[in-house]
Subunit: 333 residues, 2 copies
């Protein structure tokens, strides 16, 4: 037998532990020509929230009773597949379950790059790739420009900010609490950090931290945050809509509105939404760059590992209150 | 003596006639090496509203007592300037006044292209150029795509829609009233037209007129309109923020908000603001294309000419209630 979490009911607002049901089901059997994987790390991602509702976002909604989908890293326990052998670490999307059987599609052997296998679904997984393509393709920071990153101590934001620094930009981050802010300016070398929990007027706080204005806003928070920064955007500024953490838990009609949109004409702004999957053909280049920067000490990352499969729902819910500090993964013992 | 209108007070909301003051001042004298122009057509533009307030938009606010700025077409009455001779038609930005003196900078002789000189500040002026660059550079419609244009019977919208048709797109327009809608589908050949005055649910109306969704939204109206269309935007869609007619007369904090922004990630949307002046080096190509399309009968335009200098304020105010039908100019008798 092994365990899995399925969608028990669709969350109303902030997800609750009872929205997920823990099931014990028979271990999968090895499919002919396929492989059997034991998950070791399972991710929790804010973007998953969109799939728990009944409206289509950039992915189909999950069905009730379906295993919660998520990125995973695990070990091959048995294989008849020529590309995989027992003992290999593999990155996949097996979701919130302890074991999985597969025909091998959509699975990737974690390369031996000297980094922990968990990084395959962190700084080298969708979070790192999202930061990479969002910052380089849409943000496109130039040397000396000012880049503001929100949820900057998170997996995506911290990578995005450092990539902007590698491109020569001056980077300021928004994060929750003094520890995260100290990490941004101390360990990562951001030019500034804004603790959103200590700020009542975000526009004023950003103006103080970015006295020349903002060339690139890389946003993971949502409408209220973007609206606060719009009046400070510089001529030709770019807004990367990467995540909308603060808006995922409410229907669109209850979301705060973007009102300061006259800046779009006045400052010739561009705002663009991003999904890393669209860039799958450029993943090899991105992996090469990200790995190189990590090895050179120019790209640092944090993993926030929660121990124990049974804590998956709470680990996920905690994302929305900012409990995590870095890429949050659940380690299956 | 000649007449001019100056800013008497900053409008609160919809401009009033009393916000403008009619002055009689001495005729300007011919500057050494310069020229003297008698304005024949003066434009009224919604975008001027932004300059009547005290906040900077994409242009500096006008000072109280300053002549209202606007595009003009006039005749050279006297010239010591080698580029201009008496009798030439010239396009300039002399504003709401009957005569002007100039050193020649920023003035352009209206070419003899077989079109009425007034077109130099209409379909061949900033409205036509705005449509051209906004549609081709930002909207970039592809054959078979669906393009929705708002304020579609206006100077910018009607040109933008026809340019999209020339590029092979299916074009639907939003306009106010049955006469404008009939002109869009009848004379211009739009695939559909939505009378916004007859519609209570804009999203439903657009969905009915664009059953496959919208690839390009070319918007002249503002936040409420964009928000209505966001849920219908197709994957990779582009939103051209060309004008915000409905929002110019209120402070940003009172504007309707864009709430349906989750479509930015879900559908990988791009929204960009536009000012034609940024493309000044490409004007010659744009003029050549626009003129060619007009001569070929592929680009039609309407001018809505108000007779009499003294009617300038009312002609301007009427733009915000949709009084005009086509490019509105005031003809100075």
């Amino acid at each position: 037998m092994h365990r899995r979490f399925v969608l028990a009911r669709r969350p109303d607002g902030l997800p609750q532990v009872d929205d997920f049901r823990l099931e014990s089901v028979p271990l999968p059997t090895l499919p002919a020509g396929g492989l059997l994987v034991r998950n070791r790390f399972v991710s929790v991602d804010p973007g998953t929230r969109g799939r728990l509702g009944d409206r289509e976002t950039y992915a189909q909604p999950l069905a009730l009773g379906e295993v919660i989908q998520a990125a995973t890293v695990g070990t091959v326990e048995a294989s008849e597949h020529p590309k995989f052998k027992a003992g290999d670490w593999v990155a996949a999307a097996f979701g919130w379950q302890e074991w999985a059987a597969s025909d091998g599609r959509g699975i990737r052997v974690v390369p031996d790059n000297g980094l922990a296998p968990s990084t395959a679904i962190g700084v080298l997984g969708i979070p790192g790739l999202t930061a990479y393509f969002g910052m380089l393709d849409i943000g496109a920071p130039q040397p000396g420009e000012t880049v503001l990153v929100t949820s900057a101590a998170g997996a995506v934001g911290s990578a995005a900010g450092q990539i902007a620094m590698i491109r020569g930009a001056r980077v300021v981050g928004v994060a929750g609490g003094p520890a995260k802010c100290a990490w941004l300016t101390g360990t990562l070398g951001f030019a500034g950090a804004i603790d959103h929990r200590a700020v009542s007027d975000m526009t004023a706080a950003v103006a103080a931290a970015c006295p020349e204005g903002v060339d690139v806003l890389f946003d993971n928070v949502g409408n209220a945050m973007i609206d606060s920064v719009l009046p400070l955007m510089k001529r030709g500024g770019r807004i990367v809509v990467c995540g909308q953490m603060a808006d995922y838990n409410r229907p669109a009609e209850q979301a705060p509105g973007l009102r300061n949109t006259r800046a779009f004409i006045g400052q010739r702004l561009t705002m663009r939404g991003l999904v890393a999957f669209d860039h799958v053909r450029q993943y090899p280049q991105a992996w090469a760059d990200l790995t190189g920067w990590i090895r050179a000490g120019r790209l640092k990352y944090r993993e926030d590992v929660v121990e124990g499969f049974e804590h998956l729902p709470q680990a996920f819910i905690g994302l929305f209150t900012g409990d995590n500090f870095g890429r949050r993964l659940v380690h299956l013992r």
